[in-house]
Symmetry: C2
Subunit: 328 residues, 2 copies
DNA sequence: CTGTTAGCGCTTTCAC
DNA sequence: GTGAAAGCGCTAACAG
């Protein structure tokens, strides 16, 4: 077809169609007040020349890039990526694209990525915070931000996350009702809001049943696999281990499973957060609290788009309900 | 600080520093031929004003966006995301960012995303093809493309992938040497080059040991979990099931594991591709062929950058070696 | 070494 | 309904 590059511009189209660039632009942007036949002429020229708009030039003028940034602690993580899937799925429908950045759970890195996104003029940002700090989010100035999965201190923001408290509360309550004697707890880093909330739900359920919280069987780590492994080991090596264990997320569950696979643990029951592909196959798993991961992503995307479109409603935190999956 | 937005431009900086915008631009771009003290004046003005370059404007002028596109079949996939991790990791060091798109293993979708990337003027694209077709990659015209993990027909391209043939060949050979009687085969869609190559490696190993390929125990599916489940089931329900089974990728392995967990299969040995977090915990797993996933991503990124920087070397296909992990 | 100037490709008043 | 013209913020000749 074309011999060299494809530097077909509005100008070329305008000439071909015998109109001005202004008119071409109008047609391209679906401006109503263009006579149908002129519009047609333009369309014809467009396809004849194989014209494709240079979005960079457009962005410079309109100050909109139709691009948003996502910052996630890491990519090798089905939980985060399910959220990203929900986001991309929603955004592609309005022709937005997504710049994906990883923060490696590192504050400085998070800030660097934000700065980059700002320079690239993204229209908005969705962040899965890597910590409980959010002061540095301010560098985005007017650019809308939606937080996902976790809240932070030092930055008031729109956010969408699961109802963590309710999720763990119900699971623990259910087990207690079914006759659980002692429910151990394996928690994530309590500075993360989600970890704290899940713990609070656990405590509240115990309280409702007049059970003491036994500090010996309440352990905290960091949401990662190794942490789950070691805490479960600690728990099982106790003189009198609990008959139930609540595990606060998928990766700890995975680590715990790795430990449990090594020996018999008759009568043990695991309750755990996050319904990811393998969770239900891990040994002794009896209840899984499922978060609506893609839905979180979708809602975050929608909220962000509203902000981008100028919504001035006051900041909101959307809590999505979890569902309890019973396996036995 | 600033009262309104932050529309600080080169012009503002130039005024503040008492130089021309050209000089500011030079300083910003590290042009050597600027007198140190002028440079310093500019730097001072920059930080005083909190100036940050508008990359969109810059891109319009330079025709470089410092952004590449990645197209992957899906995001909820540790294998793909490990590759993406490798890519992002390499690219961040030279301040490139990444637009991530999912193709949902759908040709039309893949093409749409490419078109979008083209309009956004990405400097290059890395594609994990969703099929064995590549004609539509041509719409990227001069934009460099690197394929990853799989090759396609209809498009000659740079690519980086594992040595699939060698990987399965060695694993099967090793098992045979160790006394395996009959090795069943669970394969992916053979139109995908990686699936085909893994099968060929298997065949070659059999041949080297003068074993017949028994069609009854050679089954093909589609690289997904369900497929692995069903094919393993078929295999195990045979009158005389094989004592070894080679499984062509992680997700099929996962599905197979789900099936195997349901009953005893004394003396069974699984050889499988892809060393992902859980693979080694699946029942009966004795050999895992590990692909260097992040390394694939890193090399793909480097190759792409070379192309972006104008390398005219002829198209190359990089084959990275796999490693065999023996578990028993 | 530094400034002047002309755009990059698009949108958008403001006239007509 | 359509065109002329002025930039968006930056870089890159080209002079000096």
């Amino acid at each position: 077809m074309s011999e060299k590059q494809s530097p077909v511009t509005v100008k070329d189209v305008a000439e071909k169609a015998g109109v001005s660039t202004a008119t071409v632009s109008r047609v391209l942007n679906g401006d109503l007040k263009v006579r149908p036949d002129t519009a047609e002429k333009v369309q014809k020229a467009v396809s004849l020349l194989g014209y494709r708009m240079n979005q960079v030039a457009r962005s410079l003028k309109t100050r909109r890039t139709h691009t948003i940034g996502i910052i996630a602690p890491e990519f090798r993580n089905d939980f985060f990526m399910s959220i990203v899937t929900g986001i991309e799925d929603t955004l592609k429908q309005i022709d937005f694209s997504v710049i994906l950045c990883s923060s490696r759970e590192n504050l400085k890195e998070e800030e660097n990525r934000l700065r980059l996104l700002k320079e690239k003029n993204v229209d908005g940002v969705i962040i899965i915070p890597g910590s409980n700090r959010g002061e540095h989010f301010q560098i985005m100035e007017e650019t809308p931000i939606v937080l996902v999965d976790r809240l932070v201190e030092g930055f008031e923001s729109d956010a969408v996350l699961s109802d963590n408290f309710q999720g763990s509360y119900e699971a623990v309550k259910y087990s207690l009702k079914r006759g659980a004697r002692r429910i151990g707890f394996i928690g994530g880093d309590r500075t993360l809001t989600s970890a704290k909330e899940r713990f609070d739900g656990y405590l509240k359920a115990l309280e409702d049943f007049q059970r003491e919280a036994e500090s010996e069987i309440i352990l905290f780590g960091d949401y990662h696999e190794d942490s789950g492994y070691h805490l479960m080991k600690t728990l099982m090596e106790l003189e009198s281990p609990p008959d139930h264990v609540f595990i606060s997320n998928y990766f700890m569950h995975l680590g715990a499973a790795r430990y449990l696979l090594q020996s018999e643990h008759k009568g043990l029951h695991i309750l755990s957060f996050d319904d990811l592909p393998l969770a239900s196959f891990f040994p002794y798993t009896s209840i899984i609290v499922a978060q609506p991961m893609e839905e979180i992503g979708r809602q975050a995307a929608e909220l962000l788009i509203q902000r981008i479109n100028g919504s001035k409603a006051k900041k909101m935190v959307l809590r999505l309900p979890t569902t309890m999956r019973i396996l036995e």
